[in-house]
Symmetry: D3
Subunit: 299 residues, 6 copies
C-alpha cells in the first residue's frame, strides 16, 4: 500500500549522492535493482516501512492502511455496479430490499476501516479474525451492523455462499500473507461475487490474486471478480499525502534539526528504519534476502 507517484528509473538512481539522506518507502526486499543502486550510491536510506514503535506498530504504514481499508469498500461498492462488471447490487439496499453482505478477513487497521465504511453505507458486515481481544474491542466500538466471527476455514466456508463482497485484509508484518481463500473455495461463492485483496502487496490473501493497477483494476477467475490493485491509496493522493505527512512530519523535523545520526540515537523507532548506510546493509531482513552481509549500526 505505497503511494508511488512515479517509478524512479535507473538514470535517476545516479542522481543520488553519497551521504545523501533518503527518507521514504523503499521495500528493498522486493526491489533488487533499487537495493543495489542504493548500496552503490553511498546514501543513507531510512525506510518508512521498517520504522517501528516499541509496541510493534508501524507508524508510517498505519495511515496507508487506514486509507486502503476505506478505499477497499469504495472500490468494492463500485465493482458491484453493473456497468463496472458487477452484480448490479446497491451496497446499502433500500427499504424492503436487503443490503450487500460483506465479509472482511482480518480486523486490524485495514479491516476495521473497511468495516466502518461498509457498515456506514448500510451493509451487513462480518469481520473474521483470530484475535479475541481485538474482536472484543471491535464489538465495543463498531456500529451494530458489524458482527465478529472467529476466523477458521470452517467458519469462512460457511460465510462464503451468502457473501456479495469479500475483503482480504490479513497482513502478517514482514511475511507473505496466508491464502485464506483458495481457488477451490471460489466455487462456494455465487457468480459475480467480488473479492478485494488489500494484502496484494504481500502476495495477497486469496490464492487467485495477482497485482493489478488503477487502469485495469479487476479480472475474473471462475466467475468471481477480483480487485487487486497494488497501490490502492494512490487513487486518493490528496488524502493519502496529508495522512502520510501527518505521520512522517515529526520524524522529518527531527532529522532536519538533529541530523540522521543523532535523531536515530534519540529515537529507537526511527533507528529501525535504517536499511542502508554508506554502502552497508543495516537491516537484517534485507541482508538475508539478497545474501549480503548485515552490519549492525552503532549509533
Amino acid at each position: 500500500m505505497i503511494v508511488k507517484v512515479k517509478e524512479p528509473i535507473e538514470a535517476e538512481y545516479k542522481l543520488i549522492k553519497p551521504n545523501q539522506l533518503l527518507f521514504t518507502y523503499f521495500h528493498f526486499a522486493s526491489e533488487k535493482e533499487l537495493t543495489f543502486a542504493m548500496l552503490e550510491s553511498g546514501a543513507i536510506c531510512i525506510a518508512y516501512e521498517t520504522v517501528e514503535k516499541p509496541d510493534r506498530s508501524l507508524p508510517l504504514l498505519i495511515p496507508m492502511s487506514e486509507v486502503a481499508g476505506k478505499m477497499a469498500v469504495q472500490e468494492g461498492t463500485r465493482f458491484l455496479e453493473k456497468p463496472q462488471g458487477g452484480k448490479g447490487l446497491l451496497m446499502g439496499g433500500v427499504p424492503g430490499v436487503k443490503p450487500a453482505k460483506v465479509l472482511i478477513l482480518g480486523g486490524g487497521v485495514v479491516g476495521s476501516n473497511a468495516a466502518i465504511v461498509a457498515a456506514g453505507m448500510g451493509a451487513d458486515v462480518t469481520i473474521a479474525d483470530i484475535s479475541l481481544p481485538r474482536m472484543r474491542y471491535l464489538s465495543e466500538v463498531m456500529p451494530l451492523n458489524v458482527k465478529t466471527l472467529y476466523s477458521s476455514t470452517h467458519n469462512i466456508e460457511e460465510e462464503l455462499p451468502t457473501c456479495d463482497l469479500v475483503i482480504g485484509a490479513v497482513l502478517i508484518p514482514g511475511a507473505k500473507a496466508p491464502h485464506l481463500i483458495t481457488r477451490d473455495m471460489l466455487k462456494l461463492l455465487r457468480k459475480g461475487t467480488l473479492m478485494v485483496d488489500v494484502a496484494i502487496d504481500q502476495g495477497g490473501c486469496f490464492e487467485t490474486s495477482h497485482p493489478t493497477t488503477h487502469t485495469e483494476p479487476q479480472y475474473t477467475v471462475d466467475g468471481i471478480v477480483h480487485y487487486c490493485v497494488a497501490n490502492i491509496p494512490g487513487a486518493v493522493p490528496y488524502t493519502s499525502t496529508l495522512a502520510l505527512t501527518n505521520a512522517t512530519f515529526p520524524y522529518v523535523v527531527m532529522l532536519a534539526n538533529k541530523g540522521w545520526k543523532q535523531a536515530c540515537k534519540e529515537d529507537s523507532s526511527l533507528a529501525l528504519g535504517l536499511n542502508i548506510v554508506n554502502g552497508k546493509v543495516t537491516y537484517p531482513a534485507v541482508a538475508h534476502t539478497f545474501g549480503l552481509k548485515y552490519e549492525a549500526m552503532s549509533l
Copy 2:
C-alpha cells in the same frame, strides 16, 4: 393480547345490573356466553378493543401490542436456552460467535417493539412487511442491525433456513391472521428453531399454532418449538396495567364526568366502543357473528 386477571365465571355475570356501565376488554365475537349474558343484563358495554381513532388506530389495543412485542423477544430469548428446551443459543452472541438471527413477520406496533428489543440485545434482525412506507420509516428510526424485507412467500422461504427465532406479528384488524408459515414450510427451518406467535388471539399467523398459557407456554411440531401464549402481557402485569391505564384513564375521566351518553356524543372514537347497550347489539360485527339484529346508536 388481553390482560385478564381472572376469568369471570357465570355467577359473576349475574352481578351486572341494567344500565351499569362496563368499560373493559370484551372481545364479544369470540365469547358467545359473555355476549348473551351482557345482552341479558341490560348493561352498557363499551369495549376497549373497538374504540377507534379517525386514523383507524386502536388506542386501547396499542399499549398491549407494545408490551406483547417486547415480551415476544423476552420469551423468545428464554426458549432458546437449553434448560427451557431450546437450542442453547445466546441471543446476542459474544465476540467471535455470531448472534441469533431473528425474523419478524409484520412491522406494526408488535413487530417494531419486538425488533427494538432483539436488536438491542445484539441479534441480527429482519422485519418482513408489505407496507413500503412503514418499512421506510422503520429504516429511518431502527438500529442498524435491523433490516427490512418485502414480505412474500419467496422471501420468507429464503430466510427460514438460517433463522433461530421467528416472531409472528401480523395482525389484520378485525380479521383472522393469515397463515404466513404453513406446516409444510416448517421443514425449511433447522430443528430446534423457535416460533413465537403473537397473533394467536386472532387465530395465529402460523398454521401449526394453537393457544397456550404461561403455565405450559410451548410445544413442538416437527422439531420446531412453538410459543403461543394467548395473553403474553399477562406475564408483566405491573407494566401492562400502567400502560393500559395511561391509555384508558382519559376516557374513564370523561365517562365519569359526563356520563357515557354525553361522552360518546362528544368523542366519536369512544362511541365506536359501544358494543351492547341495554340489551341491544350496537356494533355490526358482533351482531353479524351471532346472527343478531344490529341497532345503530343515535347519540
Copy 3:
C-alpha cells in the same frame, strides 16, 4: 430515474395490439414518437410515473428515488478519486485528515437517501431544503454529521466555496427542476469539485447539466466535474428491479385479477396512471404537451 433495460425501437411499437395493457414507465411528455405510436396502437397505457396516492406521493417513483439517492453518493465517491478524474479525495477522511464536505440540495427521498450514505461514510453533510417541517424530521432521524440549512441563494453561495461534492436532488413533481446553481456560480467552487445532478431527468437542477450515460458519465465545465447520468439506478439493476417490483407487484396482481377497468375503478391512485386508452389521451399534461384533446376516463 427510469430503469430502461433497452430502448424500444420503432419496429417494436408495431407489436403492440389494440386493448393490450401496458403497465410501465412511459414519460410520454418527453417522448413524442412513443406517444403517437401508443395512441395509434389502441393499447391501454398505465404509466408508473403518474400513479399517485392521495397524499400526493408517487409510489412507483419512490423506489427509484431511493436507489438514485444512494447511488448519487456511490458515484460521487468514485469521481472524487484521481484515476476517475477527481480531486483524489477519500470521502470519509482518516484520523487527522478531514472528510469530504457534501452539500445536498433537496431533502426529499433522493436527498435523504444520499445523506444517509454520505454520513455513514463519514462525510460532513449539509442538506439544504425550503421545507422546515421536513428539515425538522430529518434533524430527528439523521446521523449527527448531517446538518440542515434553509435553502436560499445566499446560503448556497456561502456553502459552495468549501464543498467537495454537490448533489442536486430537487424535484418538483411534473415540472422542470429549478436551476439552483447557475453557470456563474460555478466560479465559487474550487477546481475539481464534483456536482452530481440527480434531477437530470427533469432538466437538471444545475444550469450546466446535460444528460450523460453510464458509459461516459462525467464531463467538465469551468473546471467543475459534472455527473449527470440520466438513469442512475440502471447501474444496480439487481437492487432496482427488486425495489421496483416490491412497489408495482400489488398493482400487477390487482390488474391481473380484476382487469384494468375494475382495478382503476377501485383504486383511484392507479386510475391516475391511465395516460392513453384506446387511442385517446386520458392524462391532461400529456394532452397539453402535444396539443391533443384530453378525454377524461369515466370508470
Copy 4:
C-alpha cells in the same frame, strides 16, 4: 462459570492413565476428591482457569464471563416476569411507563456484558465499580442509558431502594468475592426485587447467596428473589462451546503439535495452567489449599 456437560463420577476417574494429558476446567481448590484422583492417576492436568496472560487476564475464563454477563440479564429479565415469581415488570418499559432500573456491581467482563444487554433492552442501567480508568472507558463505549458510579457502601445503599434488578459481578481473581450486599441491606430493597449473583462460583457477592441450578434457579430471602445458578453459561451450550473453543483451540493445536512440555516451555501463559503433573502439585494455590507439597515445574 464452568460449562460442565455432566459430572464425572468416581468410576470415570479410573479411566485416566498416567502421562495422559487433560486440558479442561478443574477448579481443584474446591474439588478435593478430584484433586486426589488426579494426583493418583499420574496424569498431566492443565487447568483452563489458571492459564494467565502477562497482562494478568485469564484468556480461558473471559469467554465464559462474556456469556455469563449477557445471560445474567436474560435470566434477570425472565425472573421479573410474574409467572416466574417476579414483580411482573417489563425490562424495557413502554412509552409512558418507565423501564426497569438495573444496578450492576462490577464493571469488568461480566458487568460490561450485562450492561450492554440491559441497556439494549431499554433499561436504566448503573454500573458501580472502583476503577476510575475502567469507568472512563465504559463511559466512552457504552450506550447513553448506562451510567457509572463509584462503588462504595454509601453509594450502593443510595441506589438500592429504587432498583428492580441487582447483578453481582464482582470477581477478585483467585479470592472469595466480597459481600457487597449484606443480609441487613436487603431491607433497603423493595419486595420482589431480583438479585442475580454471577460471582456465586467464588462464594457470591451477596451475603445471602447460595448456589442453585438451572432446575431450581431462584429462592427468596426477606422478600428478595435470589438467582444464583453456579453455571449460568450451561444454559446456552451452543454459544458457550463455540466461545470457549475459539479461546482454547490455539492452545490445543500447540499441545497436539509440540507436546505439552515444549508447548508450555514456549508459552508461559499455558505453563501457568499446569496444576498437577505426574502425581505432583505444580500450582501453589492448590498445594496450599490441601496442605500438599508444591513442586515447581522446570521446563
Copy 5:
C-alpha cells in the same frame, strides 16, 4: 417567546399610517394599549402568532419554541453552577459521578428540543406528557438516555424528589398554561433545585412563576430557584433571527408580490393571521378579550 428587539413606545405608534401593512408578533390579547393604537391607526395587522396551518400547527411560533427549548437547557445548565446561585452540579457528571436528573414537563416542540440537548450533555432525562402517540414517536427518535412518562400528578410527585432541573414546557395553544407544579409541591424538591418555566408567556406552568428578564433571570421561592425569562430566544438573536426569517420569508414574499388581500385569499393559513384591518378587529379572541366587535374578513 417573542423576539422583541425594542419595546415600541407610544410616539412610535403614531408613525403607523392607515393601510400600512404590519406583519410581526403582536400578542394583542395581552397588550391593550397596542391593540387600541393599531385600531386607531387604520393599519392592517397580520400577527405571526395566529398564522395557523390546517394541521393546527403554528408555523411562525415553532422556530421560537425550538430555540426556547434548547435555551432552557443552556440556562438550566448555567444556573446549576455555584457562582450563578445553583447547587454546583455538572450537567453531565463524570465517570463515577452521576449526571443531573432533568424532568421535562411537556413533550412538544419546546420539550423535545430541551430533551435532545440535555440528553446530549449526558443528563438523565424524563419527558412527561399526556399524549401517548407523541411519546411513542419520541421513544423512537430520542437518544437512549431519554425516558417518557405519562404525566399525572402522582407521577410528577414521584419524580420531583430526585430531580435537579425541572423544565416547564406545557403550552396549550391560546390558553393559560396549567399549573403542573403548585407551591405546595415545591417542598418535594431538594433545596437548590432549579425550575425553568418556558411557558411563562402564557402565565407559566408553575404556580410560583412570574416573568423575569435576562438582566435578572432567576429568583428563589422556598429554596427552589426559578428561571422565568419571558423572552428566552432573545438571548441568541443571531440564531433566532435566522430561524424566524426562514419561517416568515415565504409569507413576506407572498405579501410583497400579491398584496395582503390576494395573499390571504390564496393562503388560508396566512389569513388566520389577520387580527386588525382598517380599524376593525378581525380575530375573535382579540375582540372577545377587549369586549370589541368581531368583524369577519371576507376576502
Copy 6:
C-alpha cells in the same frame, strides 16, 4: 484546575505542626510563600498534582480535567449568548440554521470531555491534536459530529475564520502550555468569537490569555472574547468534590491505615507525591524552581 474553597492565609500556615501529614493540591512551584511555610512547618506534604502512575497518568488531576473539559463547553455556550456579551448564537442551531463551529485544541482528557458535550449539544466539532494514535481512538468512540485534525499552525489558521468557539486544552505535564494562538492570529477570527483557555493554570495556550475568576470570567482583546477562569471546576463543587474524592479516597485509606511511610513504600505512585518532608524538599522540580537542595527520600 484546582478546587480551592478558600485561599489559606499566612496565619493559617502557623497551625501546621511538624510531622503533620498534608495530602492535598499544593502546586509549590508557583507558590513560593506556601513552599517556604511548609518547609518551616516540618510537615509531610504529599501533593495531589505529582502523584503519578507508571503509565505517566496523573490520577488525582484527571477528575478535575474531566470536569474542566465539560465545563469549558458549558461556559462557552453561555458566553455565546448576547446578554453575556457573546454573538447571540445558539450552540446547537435549529433545523435550517447551522450550529456553532467548535475548535478544540488538544484531544486529551480535557479536550475529549469538551468534545463529547459540544457534540451532544449538536455543535460541529473539530479536535486538533498531534497524536495520531489518540486521534484514531477518538475517531472510534466519539459521536459522528466530531472530526479530528492534525494540529499544525497551517491547519489551525485554516480553521479559525469559521469558528465560533475555540477551546484551548493543550497541557504539557509540568511545563508551560505552548501558545497555539498568538495575538496576531486573533485577526483571523470573526469579531465576537469566544476563546476558552483551560490551560490557564499553566500559563494558557493563547498568547492573549490571563487568568480570570468566576466573578469576572471574561474580557475582550481585539474583538475576541476570552474566558480564562483559573479554577473552572470550582463552579461545580458538588460534582468536583465527588469526582476528586473518588480518586483520592483509596490513597487516604492507605495513608490512614498504614502511615505515610509504609503507604509510600508500597505504592510508588503515591511516593511521587512527596514534595516536602520534615523541612526537606523531596521533589526535584520544586527544589530546582527555588534553588533549594533536593533530597531524595529513601523509604
